[in-house]
């Protein structure tokens, strides 16, 4: 429907608007209206409210007595000392943690996902069952799998330490989520475990769209399969992978539940969302926390735009066909 609408739209500017097209336009808006209202209510309004609250001194103790204070939550000066989210070292630590987590986890998920997708694309017996089984980590709610892993990673009675001790890889149990040198890696590992199936699935879908005749031609010409992969397969599935990477990055930048369950408010792994929640709920600073949440939104918007531009990805590509 969107395709038809677009073509109509460009035609209208040239020709005079006919009764028919006006009617069609009206119908289109009518059909779109419920969705747009729903979006405005569940996404637009909370977003605007959050941005607004970021400019007030709202406090959870008594929300009715908040005042407009301009940019004070972001940056302000008292007695020559700067205050606000923008100069809070904890905030920048959270930004850094989030970026680090996103780059590493999405990178690993993309690579492993691609590998799994190539395996699943091959012909073998029981492929259907394996394809379904691979999705299990993705199907488990994050909060459940995070709790599950936090037990498995427990230093005293966790199964992972038990196994590693059993085979003699380590001599003392490791406190995976408590030790600052392993905490972030533990979080990344669980995220990779959980989200690789998603990447594999999207990549697999792209692989299955590839025309078989190219591969036959390559086979006839006797080209090495590795060369085929880099020269044919990869360029063809690149747009699909990029879309998957953008989706995953959006998710990864907002990461909250996994980190909160595994390491709670610890500053070693605190992400931007954990920071914002801590301010909003634990510290009751609705205004300050909203400012942080607004910055989180800005950071994600910026990074997504950059990723899309850097990847040369056209999000409306499908509409030309």
């Amino acid at each position: 429907m969107t395709v038809a609408l677009q073509q109509d739209g460009s035609g209208q500017r040239k020709a005079k608007r006919s009764n028919l097209s006006t009617a069609r336009l009206r119908a289109a808006w009518l059909f779109l209206a419920p969705m747009m209202i729903a979006l405005a209510v569940v996404a637009g309004w909370p977003l605007i409210r959050t941005i607004w609250l970021g400019f007030t001194d709202a406090n959870l103790t008594d929300l009715s007595h908040s005042q407009f204070i301009g940019f004070e939550n972001y940056l302000s000066y008292y007695d020559g000392e700067a205050y606000g989210v923008l100069v809070d070292p904890d905030w920048w630590n959270a930004v850094w943690n989030t970026l680090w987590f996103s780059v590493i986890s999405v990178g690993l998920e993309t690579l492993i996902g691609l590998f799994v997708a190539l395996l699943l694309n091959a012909q073998f017996k029981g492929r259907g069952i394996v394809r379904a089984a691979v999705l299990i980590p993705w199907a488990i709610p994050t909060i459940v799998s995070a709790k599950m892993w936090s037990w498995m990673l427990h230093d005293q009675f966790g199964v992972i330490n038990e196994i590693l001790l059993g085979v003699g890889l380590i001599s003392d149990p490791i406190a995976w989520t408590a030790d600052p040198s392993t905490a972030m890696w533990a979080v990344i590992m669980v995220d990779v475990w959980k989200t690789t199936p998603f990447m594999a699935l999207l990549t697999l879908a792209a692989l299955q769209m590839l025309p078989g005749d190219i591969y036959e031609a390559a086979k006839v010409d006797g080209i090495h399969p590795v060369r085929v992969f880099f020269k044919v397969t990869l360029p063809l599935i690149r747009p699909a992978i990029l879309v998957a990477v953008v989706f995953r990055s959006l998710d990864a930048l907002r990461v909250f539940d996994l980190i909160y369950v595994l390491t709670s408010n610890s500053s070693t792994t605190m992400s931007m969302s954990v920071y914002a929640r801590q301010q909003l709920v634990d510290f009751q600073e609705v205004g300050y926390g909203s400012a942080a949440a607004t910055l989180l939104f800005v950071v994600i918007a910026l990074l997504t735009t950059l990723t899309v531009m850097a990847g040369g990805l056209k999000l409306n590509e499908g509409e030309q066909s």
Binding site: A178, T263, S264, N265, S266, D282
Partner: protein, 424 residues
């Protein structure tokens, strides 16, 4: 909008009760009364007794075991004006944070609060209103394995230095004897409110103060505090498992009660569980006040304890207040002291023969309970949570070896100044 709605609904609630003349109609209440150890089951027994007597039904609301998370949950429910919870168990440091959402209980108490410890009652008074009834009080204690100390001919430790040495000796001895899981000392060192309690005890026992003094001055950046934290940092991975950095009360109790630790810092509730019939360390546990910082240090323990409060948004506030009065009564506090080793908040119960028989330490350590060091929640008011968070993160950095004690405390002082700005 939310507030108007809740005002309306509580108005309807009041009208409803008045209309049917008080107790004529049975109400349905929801209570949260803890989830650490056997809190919930002990509470359930009392609640059932009360519901049978009054004909009201009561639903138990399960909460997370971490106090920090409990507070977050209550804040979300209360600030939206939700009537999902009628009775809430609140920590000794919360009246200043949640006070605005809680009902004044004075009209329902018939003056019975005069029998309770007065410092707790004044702690529970927010802007002249009695927002919570004292339920039980707490102080950090040192639990130790009598049998192991005897076996190795060690005395109960007088200072933290003694504890470190004794723990090391017994741990090494037991490991050499084949118990590879044995640790010297377990405590709460996860970055959450519990670490604030533990670290405050270490620092206070060295004479390093209570982070912020009664006048509101930031006192934490001092030599004695650094000394205390440096000693505590030396425990991580030596006499305490590395994972202690993510332990809460129940994790520590898990290790100690399975017989895998010589010493444990915990609250009194761990006593009755450790003495239960299914406990591997039954009759092998001793309880004492926490050691001194050094020769010139002092014995101390962080004041804890829990109160029962009624939400302002409750639909049946009178009935809820009645249940609170029942649960905090002398009779019920006595039962809880015997069955769950929860310290009563009523002074008269400390000479009760039945209680002293079940939990002898309550009489012996009465001084510890009455002289416990309070967290700076009064001085810092609604900023307490931020102060505590900055404090436990700074301590956690030291314990995990991320930074030196003196550097971390200097940074903490700067952070606290930022939080304080022109006043708490």
């Amino acid at each position: 909008m939310g507030i108007r709605r809740t005002l309306l609904s509580s108005a309807v609630g009041f009208a409803g009760i008045a209309g049917v003349a008080g107790y004529a109609m049975a109400a349905e209440l929801t209570i949260s009364c803890g989830s650490v150890g056997q809190e919930q089951s002990i509470c359930e027994q009392a609640v059932e007794e009360w519901s049978e007597a009054t004909g009201n039904t009561v639903r138990l609301f399960s909460v997370p075991t971490s106090t920090t998370e409990q507070l977050a949950l209550y804040q979300q429910i209360l600030s939206s004006g939700g009537s999902d919870l009628d009775i809430i168990m609140i920590d000794v440091i919360w009246p200043g944070i949640l006070g605005n959402h809680l009902l004044d209980l004075a009209p329902y108490s018939n003056g019975v609060e005069a029998e309770h410890f007065q410092p707790i009652v004044s702690n529970n008074t927010y802007q002249g209103k009695l927002v919570a009834m004292p339920w039980y009080t707490d102080a950090g204690l040192l639990f130790y394995r009598k049998d192991l100390l005897e076996k190795y001919g060690a005395d109960a430790p007088k200072t933290w230095g003694d504890l470190t040495a004794t723990a090391k000796m017994i741990q090494d001895g037991e490991r050499a004897a084949g118990n590879s899981k044995m640790w010297g000392f377990v405590y709460q060192a996860k970055a959450y409110e519990g670490l604030t309690c533990d670290a405050l005890e270490w620092i206070d026992s060295f004479g390093g103060g209570a982070v912020v003094n009664a006048q509101g001055d930031i006192t934490i950046n001092n030599e004695k505090a650094a000394q205390a934290l440096t000693l505590a940092a030396s425990w991580t991975g030596t006499i305490a498992p590395g994972g202690v950095l993510s332990y809460q009360e129940e994790d520590a109790r898990g290790v100690f009660q399975s017989g895998n630790a010589v010493f444990m810092r915990n609250w009194p509730y761990a006593w009755s569980l450790g003495q239960a019939d299914d406990s591997p360390v039954k009759d092998k546990i001793g309880v004492m006040a926490l050691p001194k910082g050094g020769e010139e240090g002092k014995q101390t323990g962080t004041l804890g304890g829990w109160q029962l409060a009624v939400s302002k948004y409750s639909e049946s506030p009178e009935i809820a207040a009645d249940l609170v009065m029942y649960l905090t009564s002398k009779k019920e506090q006595k039962r809880r002291a015997i069955e769950g080793s929860y310290n009563p908040t009523i002074a008269a119960l400390y000479t009760d023969a039945d209680i002293l028989e079940a939990s002898p330490f309550m009489g012996q350590l009465k001084d510890t309970f009455t002289n416990a060091v309070a967290r700076p929640s009064r001085a810092t008011g609604s900023n307490y949570n931020k102060v505590s968070n900055a404090f436990y993160n700074a301590v956690h950095d030291v314990l995990s070896g991320e930074s030196e004690a003196s550097a971390s405390l200097a940074k903490l002082e700067r952070n606290l100044k930022r939080i304080k700005r022109r006043g708490w």
